[in-house]
């Protein structure tokens, strides 16, 4: 077996083993001490609940995922656009950018009720909260990526008479890709948080609503089933971005393999 394949197997094998062990301990603990499922359902019970009540779980999961993905895309696009303004406009970089960074100290979750007041209890509020939270790391990462072009490379491009436009597309953009993907990985998890929190606050559908509803009914297995489905979906979305990164930022992926 090649060392590369072995490394990849290692990277999957050990975390999987630990996860299975923890689940087994959990399962054993619940069975041995006969913990009531209203307090802590066993992993097996959660799995059975997901399957049995899949129609309820999926009915609430899809709208949340849909809003998460749309919110994520909106924050990626707007984040990159703002980063371009930060890169090329002195006014934006010197005036707005510091304000954007300082506004980071506002806990945006706390604004959720305000959004309900402004935009009502529907999808709009969820979407806007997701974008508001996910937008910042995207902007900051992309701006860092655009700015981090090596001075030598910039000079090289100028001696070969590259225009500003060409320097952006042929140099700044590919140079920023690793940063942009780093931002996307943070943004996708934040977009999920934004959607769920706004569903907690006020909504008639969505996985956040289901979690709250099941909690109210003391249906802990359903609550855990919803949390599990949400976590696995989040993991899948993260995985898709990580896979796209390996493909798009091929020159760095390769470098890591060589090391």
């Amino acid at each position: 077996m090649s060392t590369k394949a072995k490394k990849q197997l290692d990277a999957i094998f050990w975390p999987s083993l630990i996860t299975i062990l923890l689940l087994l301990i959990w399962e054993g603990f619940v069975r041995v001490f006969q913990v009531r499922s209203i307090l802590l359902p066993a992993p097996s019970e959660i799995a059975v609940t997901i399957i049995r009540q899949w129609d309820v779980v999926s009915k609430h999961l899809w709208p949340s995922l849909y809003l998460t993905v749309v919110g994520f895309f909106l924050s990626v696009v707007s984040g990159i656009l703002v980063a371009i303004l930060v890169t090329y406009s002195d006014i934006v970089r010197k005036g707005f950018y510091p304000v954007i960074i300082v506004s980071q100290v506002i806990p945006k979750i706390a604004i959720a009720p305000l959004f309900i007041v402004w935009f009502g209890t529907g999808a709009t509020s969820s979407l806007l909260l997701a974008v508001l939270i996910a937008f910042f790391p995207m902007t900051i990462n992309a701006a860092m990526g655009f700015a981090s072009v090596d001075q030598d490379i910039h000079q090289m491009a100028r001696t070969f008479m590259a225009s500003r436009w060409q320097i952006f597309w042929k140099i700044r953009m590919p140079n920023a890709l690793p940063y942009i993907f780093g931002g996307m990985k943070i943004s996708i998890t934040l977009a999920i948080i934004g959607v769920i929190v706004s569903e907690f606050v006020a909504s008639q559908e969505g996985i956040g609503y289901l979690i709250k509803l099941a909690g109210g009914l003391l249906d802990t297995p359903l609550m855990m089933a919803a949390i599990t489905a949400l976590s696995l979906s989040g993991l899948a979305l993260y995985g898709i971005i990580a896979a796209a990164e390996r493909y798009a930022v091929f020159w760095q992926t390769f470098k890591d393999d060589v090391k």
């Binding site: 000079q155 491009a157 100028r158 008479m161 590259a162 060409q166 590919p174 020159w251």
Partner: protein, 261 residues
């Protein structure tokens, strides 16, 4: 053996640097430098690191404007980067996401020239630099010496009339350095470009050049001028010969003299 001005006195110079002075804020980096370079000449600017010789090169490349004086190429003043000048930097500065071939074709792409017209030439240049088999590789898969060869190919792709080289081999180990010097001369003789080569290595200047200008410390001035009368093609064993050593000694003396004042 300080010459007046020089060699092919009957040819009109390809590049003329006239009384150039450069101030960075209050600091004078370059004082009253005048240089004539004729077509096909290999000229070295030799001086200690940070003496302003790279600044002079960047002014010829059109990246920095002189405070006073003028720089003209084929009679037209240098006002910015131009297609008949190419630069090789101290580092290879290849784009890590492009293959070696695509890096070499970068200057062609930037000028929106048809790529297919230049692929053959790019492959020829890579073959001349002995890295043709790495055309489809990414830069980090190559050694430092091979990367610098690729960057020389990139500089030559648009057949510039002047090649500016800014300490291009200073990041390489001594053995690679000698080898790549011989390669450069081979490529240079096949293409007969005018080369202006900035270096702080006496050996390198003596080995490569037709003519060496010794630059004094800041503010940079031309302290002395030497013709290197070694036969071409030059080979590594020549560096052991008395004629080479003689030139090296002369250059060293001139550098030391320029430090006294």
């Amino acid at each position: 053996m300080i010459l007046e001005s020089t060699q092919h006195a009957n040819e009109s110079p390809l590049l003329q640097v006239r009384n150039v002075r450069k101030l960075f804020d209050e600091t004078e980096a370059i004082r009253d430098v005048s240089i004539d370079v004729v077509n096909g000449e290999f000229l070295s600017l030799l001086g200690p690191s940070g003496c302003g010789k790279s600044t002079l090169l960047m002014m010829i490349a059109g990246l920095i404007k002189p405070t006073e004086g003028s720089i003209t190429i084929k009679g037209s003043p240098v006002v910015g980067p131009r297609p008949d000048i190419a630069v090789v930097f101290q580092q290879p500065v290849l784009l890590p996401w492009r293959t070696i071939l695509d890096n070499v074709l970068f200057p062609v792409e930037v000028l929106r020239l048809p790529r297919k017209d230049y692929v053959d030439r790019a492959m020829e240049l890579l073959a001349m630099a002995k890295i043709a088999e790495f055309a489809k590789h990414l830069p980090h898969q190559l050694s430092g010496g091979m990367r610098q060869r690729a960057s020389i190919c990139r500089a030559l792709i648009r057949t510039p009339s002047i090649l500016l080289m800014d300490e291009p081999f200073s990041a390489l180990d001594a053995i690679t350095r000698d080898e790549i010097g011989v390669e450069l001369l081979r490529i240079w003789q096949a293409n007969r470009k005018t080369v202006i080569f900035v270096t702080h290595s006496i050996r390198e200047a003596a080995f490569l050049s037709d003519r060496v200008l010794v630059m004094g410390r800041r503010p940079a001035t031309v302290a002395a001028e030497f013709k290197i009368e070694l036969p071409r093609p030059r080979t590594i064993p020549m560096m052991e010969e008395e004629a080479f050593n003689h030139h090296s000694r002369e250059l060293r003396k001139a550098i030391e003299a320029s430090h006294v004042h």
